[in-house]
C-alpha cells in the first residue's frame, strides 16, 4: 500500500511538471507578446500593413493577409485532394490500391518541410514563372506546396470520420438502389459532414503553422498581395526570418505575432472540436 502511494505521488509530480512546462510556454509567449500589442494599440498592430521594425512600426496586416491567402489556397487544394483520397480509401478502392495509397499518404506526412520547400523552389517556381508569369515565388506556389503538405492530415481525419459512419447507412442506401457515388455523396458524406469540416479546419491549422516550406516558396515580400502570383510573407515566416537578430521591441513584436498565431490556432481547434463532437453525436 505504501509503495502505491509513492507511485501515485511520483506520477502526480511528473504530470504536474509536464503540464506546467506546457503552460509555461503559453504564459511566456503571451507575457512577452501581449504588452507590446497593448502598447502600440490593437488597431496599429493588427490593421496596419507597415512593418518597419527599425522605425518602431509593427503592423502585421500584410502578413495576416499573407497567411490567410496561402492557407485558403492550401485548404482548397489539400482539402479536395485529401477528401478525395479519403473517399477512395474508404469507399471505392480495391485492396490493391489501398495497400499502395495508404502508406503513400503516411510517407507524404513524414517528408520534412524543407524538402517540400526545396522541391517547390526547383520544380514548381520555374514552371509557374514561365507559364503564369510573376516571380514564381507566390501565393499560388505556396498554396500548392502547402496543399500537398496538409493532404495527409485531412485524409487521415476524414478516413476516421467516414469509418465511424455506421455500416447500416451504406447498406440501407445500396438496398434502395443507389449507386456507390450516390450513397457516398448523399448519405455518408452528409452523416460525416461535421467531422470532415473538422478535418479541414485542422488542416488549415497545420497550413497556418507551416514555416520552412513557406519561406522557401512564398517570396517573403512585405507587401500586400494583389494577385495570387504576388509574393507574400506569412506570420510564421516573419518570426523565423527575423528572430535571429531581433531585440527589444522588435523581439517583443515577434512574440506578439506568436500570440496572434496562438489565438488563431486555439480558435480553429475549438471550432474543430465542436464540429467533431457534433459528428460523433450524430453518426455514432
Amino acid at each position: 500500500m505504501k509503495k502505491d502511494r509513492l507511485i501515485h505521488a511520483a506520477l502526480t509530480v511528473i504530470a504536474l511538471s509536464a503540464i506546467s512546462g506546457l503552460a509555461l510556454i503559453t504564459i511566456f509567449v503571451f507575457k512577452e507578446g501581449l504588452p507590446i500589442i497593448l502598447r502600440i494599440g490593437v488597431k496599429n498592430f493588427f490593421f496596419s500593413g507597415q512593418w518597419y521594425p527599425r522605425e518602431g512600426k509593427f503592423g502585421i496586416l500584410s502578413m495576416i493577409v499573407g497567411s490567410l491567402a496561402v492557407t485558403a489556397g492550401a485548404i482548397i487544394i489539400g482539402g479536395v485532394f485529401g477528401l478525395g483520397c479519403a473517399v477512395v480509401l474508404t469507399q471505392f478502392a480495391p485492396r490493391r490500391l489501398v495497400v499502395v495509397l495508404k502508406p503513400a499518404i503516411e510517407l507524404l506526412a513524414g517528408i520534412p518541410s524543407v524538402v517540400y520547400g526545396f522541391i517547390g523552389v526547383v520544380v514548381l517556381v520555374p514552371i509557374i514563372r514561365q507559364y503564369l508569369g510573376g516571380p514564381g515565388l507566390s501565393i499560388l506556389t505556396a498554396s500548392i506546396v502547402l496543399g500537398i503538405m496538409i493532404l495527409p492530415t485531412v485524409t487521415s481525419i476524414s478516413v476516421d470520420v467516414i469509418r465511424s459512419v455506421p455500416r447500416s447507412y451504406r447498406e440501407g442506401s445500396i438496398a434502395l438502389g443507389a449507386t456507390g457515388w450516390q450513397t457516398t455523396y448523399m448519405v455518408i458524406l452528409k452523416a460525416a459532414r461535421s467531422g470532415i469540416v473538422a478535418a479541414f479546419i485542422l488542416g488549415m491549422g497545420r497550413a497556418i503553422g507551416e514555416t520552412m516550406a513557406v519561406i522557401m516558396v512564398a517570396g517573403n515580400a512585405l507587401e500586400m498581395p494583389h494577385s495570387i502570383l504576388d509574393p507574400v510573407r506569412t506570420l510564421t515566416s516573419n518570426i523565423a526570418l527575423e528572430m535571429g537578430y531581433a531585440a527589444g521591441d522588435h523581439r517583443q513584436a515577434l512574440f506578439a505575432t506568436g500570440v496572434t498565431l496562438f489565438v488563431m490556432i486555439m480558435v480553429l481547434n475549438t471550432i474543430a472540436l465542436t464540429m467533431s463532437r457534433r459528428s460523433a453525436g450524430k453518426g455514432g
Partner: protein, 278 residues
C-alpha cells in the same frame, strides 16, 4: 443531355482515381527527384567525414550525429514524461472539467507551429537559462514540442483498452499500478509506440525549432552543451545559401532515407505487436 446516376458514378470514379494517382505520383516524384540527384553523391566518405569549407566539400557526419543526439535526447525526455503524464490523467484522476481542459490544452499545443516553440526555446533556454546554442537547448525545445502529441496518442491508446480488463485485474487482487503496467500498458503499447515513432519522425524533420536553439555549428558535437547542426537545417542552409547543390541533394537523400527507414521500422514493429497478441 440527361446525366444518369450511372454516368455520374463513372465520372466521379474516374476523378477519384485521378486524385489517388496524382497523390501517389507526387510522392514518388518527390522521392525520386531527390534520390536521383543525390544518391549518387552519397559515398562512404560523405557519411563519415566532417564538412569542409562551410559544407562545400567533405561530409555530413557531425550533422548525422547531431540529429541523432538531439532527437534521442528529446524523445528520451518526452516519451516517459508524456506516457506517465497520460497514465496519471487517465488512470489516476477522475474525468472532469480539469482533465477536459488539460486535454484541450494538449490538443492546441499539438497544433502550435514549431516556430513558436523555437522562439520560446531561443529566449528561454538559450538566453534566459544561459544554455546557449546547444544540443540540450534543442532537445528540450523539441521535447516540449512533441510532448502534446505523445500525450494525445497515448491517451487514445489507453482509452481504447476495454474497462473489462481493468476489472479483471483488480478482481484478481492487483494494485492500480500493477493493473496499469501489466494490463493497460501492455494492451496500449502499439498505439503508444506509434505516437513515439511519429514524434521521432517529427524531430528528425524539424528545422524551425532547432534553428535557433541547437544552433548551426559545423563541428562534431561531443557534449550536449555544444552547438550542433541537424541534417534538415544543414540541407536548408546549403540550398538556400547556394553553397553546394550537389551536397544539398545528397543531404536530402540521407534525410529521406532516414525517414523511410523510420517508417519501415515502425510498420514492422506494429506487425510484430499485433502478431504477439493474436
Amino acid at each position: 443531355m440527361k446525366i444518369t446516376p450511372a454516368t455520374s458514378q463513372r465520372f466521379v470514379v474516374v476523378v477519384l482515381w485521378l486524385i489517388a494517382a496524382i497523390t501517389i505520383f507526387i510522392l514518388l516524384f518527390i522521392i525520386a527527384y531527390i534520390l536521383a540527384h543525390g544518391l549518387g553523391n552519397i559515398t562512404w566518405s560523405f557519411i563519415t567525414e566532417s564538412p569542409r569549407r562551410m559544407g562545400r566539400q567533405g561530409g555530413i557526419l557531425p550533422m548525422i550525429v547531431g540529429t541523432i543526439y538531439v532527437t534521442a535526447l528529446a524523445v528520451l525526455i518526452a516519451a516517459p514524461v508524456g506516457v506517465l503524464t497520460t497514465i496519471f490523467l487517465t488512470e489516476y484522476t477522475r474525468e472532469g472539467k480539469l482533465t477536459s481542459f488539460i486535454r484541450f490544452g494538449a490538443d492546441c499545443l499539438a497544433g502550435i507551429p514549431s516556430i513558436i516553440f523555437g522562439l520560446f526555446g531561443f529566449v528561454f533556454f538559450v538566453i534566459v537559462l544561459r544554455m546557449g546554442f546547444s544540443i540540450i537547448s534543442g532537445a528540450l525545445t523539441l521535447a516540449l514540442m512533441v510532448l502534446p502529441t505523445i500525450i494525445r496518442t497515448s491517451e487514445e491508446a489507453i482509452r481504447a483498452v476495454p474497462q473489462a480488463y481493468r476489472e479483471v485485474s483488480y478482481g484478481l487482487g492487483s494494485t492500480r499500478w500493477q493493473m496499469v503496467t501489466r494490463v493497460v500498458l501492455k494492451s496500449a503499447l502499439p498505439g503508444i509506440c506509434t505516437g513515439i515513432v511519429l514524434s521521432i519522425g517529427r524531430c528528425v524533420s524539424e528545422t524551425a525549432a532547432v534553428m535557433l536553439t541547437a544552433g548551426s555549428a559545423l563541428r562534431m558535437p561531443y557534449s550536449p552543451f555544444e552547438s550542433s547542426r541537424t541534417l534538415s537545417l544543414h540541407f536548408y542552409i546549403l540550398s538556400r545559401e547556394g553553397i553546394s547543390m550537389q551536397n544539398a541533394y545528397a543531404t536530402a537523400s540521407v534525410l529521406i532515407l532516414a525517414i523511410l527507414g523510420i517508417n519501415v521500422v515502425a510498420y514492422l514493429l506494429m506487425r510484430r505487436f499485433v502478431a504477439k497478441v493474436t
